[in-house]
Amino acid sequence: MTAFKKIEDNLKKEAKNLLESGKVTLVLAYAGGFDEKHPVPYVAKAAADADHLVFNEYCTYNMARYLTRYPLGTKIAVAVRGADSRAVVQLIQEGKVRRDDLVILGIPATGMKNQKTGEVIDAKTTASTINPVLYDVLLGDEIHGVKAGSPYDVLAELEGMDKDARWAFWKKEFERCIRCYACRKACPMCYCDPCFMDASRPRWADKSPTDDGTLMYHLTRFYHLAGRCIDCGECSRACPVDIPLYLFHKEVAKECEAMFGQAAGMNIEDKPAMANFKGEDSDQMLG
């Protein structure tokens, strides 16, 4: 059972020390929202701000997504659970943040809950990443002995479908898409400015929610995240119309891992799969 209160106390303590000592300029963590089930992402800038920090089972935000808002060189402490820590690692691999500029406050956790439905979210996402993969300080005890299973187990149903059934499934899911871009904005790895969707010359995808434009947007984003998606599930939780985006991301991640022998965000020594070439890389697409 994750000791939420203990982690919260440690978070406040660490944040206060880091800000008082000037070791960091800001701490990215969580604070209370309009009620207990709705905490908010929070940026603590002064030591007194640390008093506002909370940690409970609804603190599902991937705070790594705020890292790319600050100029390179900003000293930042960031609270991360398992998958979130992989986002930090991936951002370091991609040169968007430097390891030395960060104090990573790792939070081992199970039993996190989806704010909208209340269901426990461990099984569908972050299955293999309960403990942070990289950290400076651990705010709670590492969790061992949990049968996590493979993060790709949940793909069994989709993989069992034939191609046409799968296409029909995704076309139906995307009918609900309202092009709010909450998925893109919630993602820690979608930091491109401008994003391909912001371009009008050429216009890569229509802006109105037609089937074509919507599919173009999502399929392109899935491929832009190949080898980069760290399986935090934020996109799917952010979606106001409940599209299970994590299923497609996981499938792409599974194929990448099989082809290139590495998963996103596990090791800061890795080079991003799509930006690197190794002699032993799979050449199956060459036939």
């Binding site: 935000y61 997504r65 309202i178 871009y181 919630a186 409940d242």
Partner: protein, 345 residues
């Protein structure tokens, strides 16, 4: 005039409405309940708190073709898309959302240029409002009491519907509404006791409490302008904001749109579709300059538009306290808390 129908006959009512013309009503989908054009009367549900998206899409669809064209050798043939003039009905609109239509009328009809697309749908549609369950607590995100709205207010509806254990009571509030009820043979006349239940429900609705603040539109309009340059206030307010468009899209009173020609293989349409002031490129100019490059600037714009500039320009706050924006926000930003704080400055 008050009419009624047994709840287990509800599908008969829906069928009768659907036979008259286009019917928009709540349907349960994977995302929750949303308003849809009804093909199958059995799809309609009355079992929900409120819809995910507001009913504005009935009058102001997310995507609307205005002109269709074909590009041929040396010329382009273009036709304006004819407006659907059939009488329509929207069924199951909560009281706070009903009030949003009148606010939107100010933008689409009362700003000097009449929007023919909004007007034709608005003119042709009968609104059947639907009281909240007055025995249940309001959703914690709601704050419609702030605007003086009650959970069972009939104002703004053509017909207002109240649900009891076994019955639906329908009251004609306007001539248009009375005419609709008159034409529905499937309804029965309601008697004195039913009248009493209806009145009691409206009264009980006023006692259902939502979050509320004493906000005078003129006062908040000025207060927000006075803190415009307070960077700390706005950066704190928008600290978590990820600049998606979810709040804008679900909001019943947001009305910004973009217009674009979408062409494929020399055929296409000029259409308008929802835009959001929170998007990065909302104010991006052709020169490449963007007056609002930062998120806190865009979030400030949203709040100030709704609670300040809109008051100056249209005489009312552009918000009905339905709580959708707060519920749908991926980071739980709560506009009520922010406005309440500004109001107390």
């Amino acid at each position: 005039m008050l009419k009624k129908i047994a709840i287990d006959q509800f599908s008969e009512l829906v069928k009768a409405l659907a036979e008259r013309g286009p019917l928009y009503a709540p349907v349960k989908g994977k995302e929750g309940v949303v308003f849809q054009a009804i093909q199958n009367p059995a799809d309609v549900t009355l079992d929900f708190y409120n819809t995910v998206l507001s009913p504005k899409s009935v009058f102001f669809p997310q995507s609307e073709d205005m002109i269709r064209y074909r590009i041929t050798q040396g010329a382009t043939e273009a036709q304006p898309v004819p407006q659907d003039s059939r009488p329509a009905v929207i069924l199951g609109v909560r009281p706070c959302d009903v009030r949003s239509f009148e606010i939107m009328d100010r933008h689409f009809l009362g700003a000097g240029v009449i929007d023919p697309y909004w007007k034709s749908k608005r003119d042709n549609t009968t609104i059947i409002g639907y009281a909240f369950d007055v025995t249940a607590a309001a959703d914690p995100a709601d704050f419609y009491n702030t605007f003086g709205y009650g959970a069972a207010d009939p104002e703004g509806s053509d017909v207002f519907m109240v649900r009891t254990d076994k019955t639906l009571l329908l009251k004609g509030m306007t001539d248009r509404g009375k005419k609709l009820l008159d034409s529905m043979g499937v309804l029965q006349a309601a008697g004195g006791p039913d009248e009493k239940v209806f009145e009691e429900t409206v009264k009980k609705g006023k006692a259902v409490q939502t979050r509320s603040a004493k906000i005078d539109p003129q006062v908040i309009a000025k207060k927000l302008v006075s803190v415009f340059d307070n960077g700390e206030f706005w950066q704190k307010a928008a600290m978590a904001c990820i600049a998606c468009g979810a709040c804008t899209y679900v909001c019943p009173t947001c009305y910004c749109f973009d217009i674009s020609d979408e062409t494929l293989f020399k055929e296409g349409s000029r259409k308008r579709f929802w835009d959001a002031c929170t998007f990065t490129d909302f104010t991006l100019e052709a020169s490449g300059h963007n007056p609002r490059p930062r998120i806190f600037q865009r979030y400030r714009q949203k709040v100030c538009h709704k609670y300040s500039y809109h008051v100056d320009k249209y005489g009312c706050i552009s918000c009905v306290g339905c709580g959708r924006c707060t519920r749908v926000c991926p980071v739980n930003i709560d506009i009520f808390s922010i406005v309440d704080e500004a109001n107390k400055l």
